[in-house]
Symmetry: C2
Subunit: 366 residues, 2 copies
């Protein structure tokens, strides 16, 4: 069997003020008529049906997921009592899928990414599933970098294996090491040296393979997951899940398993137009801009305005005009109650504003 | 007698989008709790009572003037059927005042200027009135420039007269020439050479003196004003006023009279903190900024934000937050229906946006 597991627990703080605690980025129509979550499900639909697609999400957002994905079976929404990183999230899903088919292949996808070339992406997923099917390897999708991005982790890939041995003729690499988000100089070196790929956070493996690797590298989590599963159907299931989850340290699957395992492979995706839409500057990399680099989603009049991202989103029907004069590389996000204006190169730092905002709100309450 | 004539006909286009056709700048609370018009009247109140203060305004704004100046006698609102520049405006007022006291002194003030040192300003007006009282001279107030501004016209002043002859001991200069808004290089030269003053558009003269000079230098306008005055009280007064006014070429008192007359004097005001609040960059010159040069009139969170002017004005009670990150010398004017973001050095060019906006609205109507 082929499952898809979509992780919808992100907070998307760097896309504030559009992305909010109540409605994080994955639930927003950032890239078109549908939300990022809906696009993620639709994108893989040719490969995985709704019946076999699972969404892992925090309790507070279950309602949004059901509303946005009405065709998804109710039982396919896996509820996390709280965010504890991707390792518990993936573990919880794998445990659930093991009930159905432990030898099934699961495709793990974040709910908030953009992919331009969907056909190409599906071919890569197909290849990855073929490789994973055999049951030994954990496959990660490595994005071929087209610029020295500092916002992504990198995977250094090793000499190619004999592809034929893995049941596919696509390029398959073994992992040398995982590198955290580099500074610009390091990123430039990565590109120059070659053999480095962006860590996309997209994985393909067999259910039993990831559980086996978890048992080896994260035994405490593995025990906890077994305990949770043993309470399945019991009246105290929820209570036990919450208590057990609360006892877990937050950890990502990258740190917890992939960096330690000896069975990790990378399949380079080639240029599929991928982005994690991690901040406001990323948006203009995946959406088409005008001939002076502006990405405009607003009623707009601009004079000498270039490389700007301007987005106006209001609940009121009243038409609002955004006028700009003599500005470049500026991001303007105009919402009902918050207006953000920032230098595009500082897009990663939006959290600083958020932090001050939270402190202010706290002190106003007090 | 001492009269004040306040010209309230400006359009304040460069302060768009706060200043609009319906409510131009002089009717806005740009600098405090009261509107610029109210501040202009209050400022001279120690010298000129409401009874002797006249406001010249276009028909469409008579209602606002009466509302903002409830203590002004109704008859003191002089209505212009249309804007034709300051020459007809001042002429119309002078003709009206001549009914009361042709030898009275009239202080002419724009309704939309800022003056920080009001006491000093009143002393200057007093001096100017003393000089004007004698009946020969037209007195203009010249602002001592503190920077090479390119947004103001300049007056080059000549060797001082013998002040005693003019009935005052203040500094009184004769005019060498009027210079139009200079480029930066020229403005810098003006400051270096000395003897140049900003043309403030504030004048003091006797009613009969300005009418006499108009008769000499703008005889067509003078005839028209006489014709208008002859219809005073007649049933076709309004109709005649409109027709006669429509027939006038638009002209400023500077071009029409002051540049030609041989009786113009300049009284340097010294540093009274004057500004015509001509555009959004001017605002931070007359209002106090924070220690990194920001002028903020908004609920604001800023990270690395300096020399910005940020103004948020909404009719709704709902609190709106403006957040800024990594920007300098940017003007943000956030209103109900229009948001303007621009480089501060481009503040003079707001009209470009307005023009495009008007064209757009026209084409939408069509």
């Amino acid at each position: 069997m082929l499952f898809a597991v979509i992780m919808a627990g992100g907070r998307g703080e760097r896309l504030w003020p559009l992305s909010r605690e109540e409605t994080p980025k994955q639930f927003l129509k950032l890239l078109g008529e549908h939300t990022l979550l809906q696009q993620t499900v639709e994108r893989i639909a040719p490969l995985v049906s709704n019946e076999d697609t699972y969404v892992v999400v925090g309790r507070e957002h279950v309602g949004i997921v059901r509303e946005q994905l009405p065709d998804l079976p109710k039982k396919n929404v896996i509820i996390e009592p709280m965010g504890r990183g991707t390792a518990p999230c993936i573990g919880l899903a794998a445990t659930r899928l093991a009930r159905i088919d432990p030898q099934g292949v699961m495709i793990v996808l974040p709910a908030d990414h953009a992919i331009v070339d969907e056909e190409h992406f599906l071919r890569v997923l197909n290849d990855a599933a073929s490789v994973a099917e055999e049951g030994t390897h954990l496959v990660t999708l490595g994005i071929t970098p087209n610029r020295p991005a500092t916002g992504y982790g990198y995977i250094q890939a090793f000499s190619p294996l004999k592809a034929g041995d893995l049941g596919t003729d696509c390029e398959v690499l073994s992992v040398e090491r995982f590198a955290e988000k580099p500074d610009l100089k390091t990123a430039e070196r990565f590109l120059q040296e070659g053999g480095y790929y962006w860590n996309s956070g997209m994985f393909v493996w067999r259910v039993d393979a990831i559980l086996r690797e978890m048992k080896e590298h994260m035994p405490q989590l593995h025990d906890a997951l077994r305990d949770i599963e043993e309470h399945a159907g019991a009246p105290d299931y929820e209570q036990n899940l919450e208590r057990t989850y609360a006892g877990q340290e937050a950890n990502s699957i990258d740190y917890g398993v992939l960096e330690k395992s000896e069975h990790v492979l990378v399949i380079p995706t080639g240029d599929i137009g991928w982005s994690d839409v991690g901040d406001w500057s990323a948006l203009s990399e995946v959406l088409e801009t005008d001939d002076v680099g502006n990405l405009i989603r607003a009623s707009h009049i601009g004079v000498d305005t270039s490389n700007c991202t301007i987005l106006s989103k209001h609940t009121s029907e009243k038409k609002r005009l955004v006028a700009t004069l003599g500005i470049s590389d500026v991001v303007i996000i105009d919402t009902d109650d918050i207006l953000l204006v920032m230098d595009k190169s500082r897009a990663q730092e939006v959290k600083k504003i958020l932090k001050i905002h939270a402190t202010k709100q706290e002190s106003e309450k007090a």
